[in-house]
Amino acid sequence: MSRDRGSRLLGEGIIKGLAETARNFFGSYISKQRLTTVQYPEERIPQDESFRNFPFLVYDGSDPEAGLRCVSCQICEKECPPKCIFIEKSKDKKPDAVGKPQFYPTVFDIDVSVCMSCQICVEVCPFEAIKMDVKYDYPTESRFAALLFDKHQLAKSNDYYHQIHPTEASAVDAALAAEREAAATKAAAAAAKAAAAKPAATAGAPGTATASAATSTVTPPSDTTAGEPR
C-alpha cells in the first residue's frame, strides 16, 4: 500500500504538515492572492448581470409619480405566489409609458420580508413596469414595518434599470419604443378614419359620433393592444 512506506521515522508526516502550515502562515502575509475571503461590507464581489433580488417599479423621465409605468392592472398582485404585493387602483387616469391615459396605483406595497424573489411578477407584467432589483442588503431596525416597501421606495428610474441590467433594459426600451410607434400610427389611422367618417355622418348627432370614436381609440382592452412583452 502506498500509504504505508516501510521504516520511515515516526513523525515525518507531521513535520511535512508543519512546513505546509508555516508556508500558509507566512505566505498569507506576502501574497494577497492567498486570502480568498472577501471582506464583505468594504469589499464586494461584482455581481452577475442576471442577479436579482427584490422587485422594483420602473418610471420614465425624472418624476417618479408621473413617469411610473405601472397601470395598476393588478396582475402581479394576483400572480404573486406568497402574496406580498398590495395595490390600490386610482380613480382618475394619467398617461402611461405608451401615452394612453391609464389608471395608476395610489398604493403599491411589496413586503420584501415575504417576497421570495421568484420574478413571476416581472414575467406577467404586460407594461414592463416591475423589474428585479440587485440590492441585497436591507439592514433595518424593525422586523416588519421597515421591510414593507411603499411606492416611493419601490419607484426607481429607468436609468437605474439601465445601470443594473443594461442588456435587458435596452431590449425593454426598444420594445416600448416600437409599441409607442405602433400606438402613434394606430392613433393617426384612427384619426384619419374618424376624419373620413365625419363628413358622411353629418346627418347624425355630431357629439355622439366623436365620443364613440374617442373611446374606441383611447381605451382599448389593455392586454390586447399593449402586446406581449416577450
Binding site: M1, R3, D4, S7, R8, L9, L10, G11, I14, G17, L18, E20, T21, A22, N24, F25, G27, S28, Y29, R34, L35, T36, T37, Q39
Partner: protein, 391 residues
Amino acid sequence: MTQTPDQVFVILKHWLLGYVPTSVHAIASAVLSILPLMVVFPLLFAITTLLERKGLGRIQNRLGPNRTGPMGLWQPLADGIKSLTKEDIVPFTADHIVHFLAPVLLVVAAFLAYAVLPVGRNMALVNLNAGVLFFFAVGSVVELAVFMAGWSSRSKYSMLGAMRAIAQMISYEVPLVLASVVVIMQAGSLSTVDIVERQATYTGIFPHWYVFTPWGFLGFILFMIAATAESNRSPFDLPEGESEIIAGYYIEYSGFKFALFFLGEYLGMFATSGIAITLFLGGWSAPLSVLTFIPSWAWFFLKLLTLICMFIWVRGTLPRLRMDQLMNFAWEFILPMALFNMVIAGLWRFMNPGAVRWFVCAFLILVPMFVLSALLKRKKKLQLRTYSFAE
C-alpha cells in the same frame, strides 16, 4: 547595578513591604507575590486567544478576527464582555453544587501550579524542595474538576467527554512524569528553582540546558507531546471533539462558567509549558551568555510565548486522533521511549563527558525510536473494507 532590571519586581516588592507593619508582613508578602501571577497569566490568556485565532486564521489563509478595534485587537475584551453578560444556564437535573464547583476547582488547580514556577531569578512564589512533585500533584486535580463537570451536568455528551478526558489524562500523565524524571535524575533535585540554577551556567557562551543533551531533547519532545494531551489540545482534543460530542464535558456550561473552563484550560497549558521551560529549556536563563543583560523574567515569557506559538502551530496542522490511536501512541510509543530515556540518562551520568558520550547516547535513542515507530506502523496497516450488501 546591572542586575536592577532583572530584579525590578523583587526590589519593588521589598520596597512596598517596607510600608507594611511587621505584624501583617507575611500575609502582605504573599499577596504581593500572588497578585501579579493572577493578573499576568489571565492577561496572557487574553493575548493567547487572540494570537491563536489570528494564527489559525493565517494558517488557513484567512485574516482572523479583524472587526473589533484596530486589527481586531479588542477581540479578547469583546469576548470577555460577551461571556460576562450571557445567561448562566444550569441544567434542571444537574447537581447544582458540583456543577458550580467544577470550573472553580479547575481554575484554582491551574493557578496553584504557578506556585512553584520560577518566572525569573528569585521570582518563584515558593521554593518547595519537592516542587516538581507538587506541580504534578496539583496538575492531577484538573482531572477531578473535569470529571466533576462531566458528571454533574447529567448530559450524555458531558459524560462521554469526561470519560474520554479521564482516560486520556491518566494515560498521558504517566509519560509526562516519566519524561521529566530524567531531569530530576540529572539535577538531583525536585526543586524547580534548583533545576533552573543547574541549567543557568555556561560553557563558553552556550548554556547547560538539558534540551541540548540527547536524553533531554527526547525528554522534551515526549514531555511536550504528553503536555499537549494533558491540556486537551489538538490533536489530542478528543474530550471536547466538537464534531463528535459537541464540546465534551463543558457542553452544559454557558456564560462566565464556560469562560472559566476556557481560562483554566489555557492556564493549565501555560503551566505545563512553564514547567517544560523550567525542566528542559533552562527556565529564566538566557540562551547565550552574552544575552544575560536581558532580564530573566523576559526570557521566561519569551520562551513561554514561543511554546504557545508552537502549540498553536501544531493545532493548526494536525487533525484529531482516534481514541485507539491516542491510547496506542501513549502506551506503545511514548511510555517505552520515556522508560528507555531514563536508562540513557543514567548512562549519560556515568560516562565521561565528551563527544563520545553524546554520540553513544544519541545512537541509543535513535535505535529504539526506529524500532518502536516501525512496530507502531506495522500495526496500523489499513485494510480495504469490504461491504457485503452495498456493492
